[in-house]
Amino acid sequence: MSEIVTTTHPTDPLLRAERLPHIWCPGCGIGSVTACYMSALAESGLPLDQCVVVSGIGCTGRVAGYVNLDSFHTTHGRAIAFATGVKLANPRLQVTVFSGDGDLFAIGGNHFLHAVRRNTDLLVVCVNNFNYAMTGGQAGPTTPRHSFTTTTPRGATDQPFNLQHLAAALGVVYSARWTALHLRQLKTSFSQALQLHGFRFVEVLSPCPVGFGKANDLGEGIEEMEFYRAQGVVDRRISPAEALIEMSKSTPLPLGVFVDPERQGNGQAGPAKGADGVVGR
């Protein structure tokens, strides 16, 4: 049988299909991640009417505009804080924050820090494309050293964050890293995370050919996806602290679930516990 040309897609009811095609560029991974999240959500058995997506600003921030849920496209960097208000005012809601590396870890870094500290009951999904894509490809907090962006014309010099390490060190309940190609595993992670409580984190490496790939020899989306296929390795013994992203064709790219409540205490970095105890007694 040849293909059949049609106009609707089985996933359409989960999306605001009337808004398709979406604004993301050819070769961008955000669309795949969004659909993957929505399928996991649909299969989770959670009542969709009680599910909320909150985004910040950025290409990834536009996710809120495409999911067929109650969805909020907030201000740059404040998605987690906004979501905190949503969740506290109506604890029955399942609240997912969907945003980019810049939104969550540059301008929004403080809210991440404190939401983890409070163990706020949120699932936070970060599409990490190593740059501020929406504004045209500037360096961000995950931009690999030596890579070229419009604000690092001579190569980035700052040490980037290793988001898995950061999340683990701060003490999230669940933390995973996948790529926009590892969609089956990503979906499983979404499903797992949706069943847990407390602060859960999922990072998805995703091609941004326009803002990052082309300037850094990663080429078009398809080439970056090939890179992920070639380098991606699921290493369950690796500690989050070592889960470096080397973005080099000679180094494996560690993927997997780095923090998992089922594995607590198996040598993985524990949460950053602070002062405790009734003081002075």
Partner: protein, 176 residues
């Protein structure tokens, strides 16, 4: 005061903005004219039709927006379809005949810019072919000014190729 509104259109990655920039720069710095380049920004502009608008005048330009171009060069079907309505009735239409099929009652000139660029070895210089073609067919900006703009703008090792593409387009244009 004579004023010309020019619109170049195509899809992202064809170098439409660069072509517009060179047209404006040639006019403003080497052609003794006044020129303003405007363009559309934003994510909604990505991956779909994009355009660069150039206004040329022999006196200072106030309101800079091109609303009713009298000259339009289109390099993709989608761009042609979305922008053609803005071309004034007696306007001149240039198009990449490799990529665009359309009717236009007024003056129209096609050039297989993409295949000419392909022959020169890099499809990416189709925009230069179109620029040369435009210079020749419209006489808007003299070719010397445009060549100088190319020389002072593109990266050193690509000057040669770009100039060759420009000339190829110009030659086609003089014959059109």
């Amino acid at each position: 005061m004579t004023r010309q509104e020019v619109r170049l259109a195509g899809f992202g990655g064809q170098g439409i903005i660069l072509a517009g920039y060179l047209l404006g720069k040639a006019a403003a710095l080497y052609g003794g004219q006044h020129a303003v380049l405007t363009q559309v920004y934003g994510p909604e502009a990505r991956g779909s039709a994009c355009n660069a608008d150039v206004m040329l005048s022999d006196s200072p330009i106030d309101f800079p927006e091109v609303r009713h171009p009298s000259i339009m060069a289109v390099m993709s079907q989608e761009a042609a379809e979305s922008f053609l309505p803005s071309l004034v009735g007696d306007g001149t239409l240039l198009f990449d005949s490799d990529l665009v099929q359309l009717d236009w009652p007024g003056r129209r000139f096609g050039v297989p810019a993409t295949s000419i660029a392909d022959q020169l070895g890099r499809r990416i210089v189709a925009n230069m072919v179109m620029l040369g073609f435009l210079s020749a067919t419209t006489g808007l900006v003299p070719p010397e000014a445009l060549e100088e703009a190319i020389r002072t703008t593109v990266r050193a090792h690509t000057i040669e190729l770009n100039l060759r593409a420009f000339e190829a387009g110009y030659t086609r244009g003089t014959a059109a």
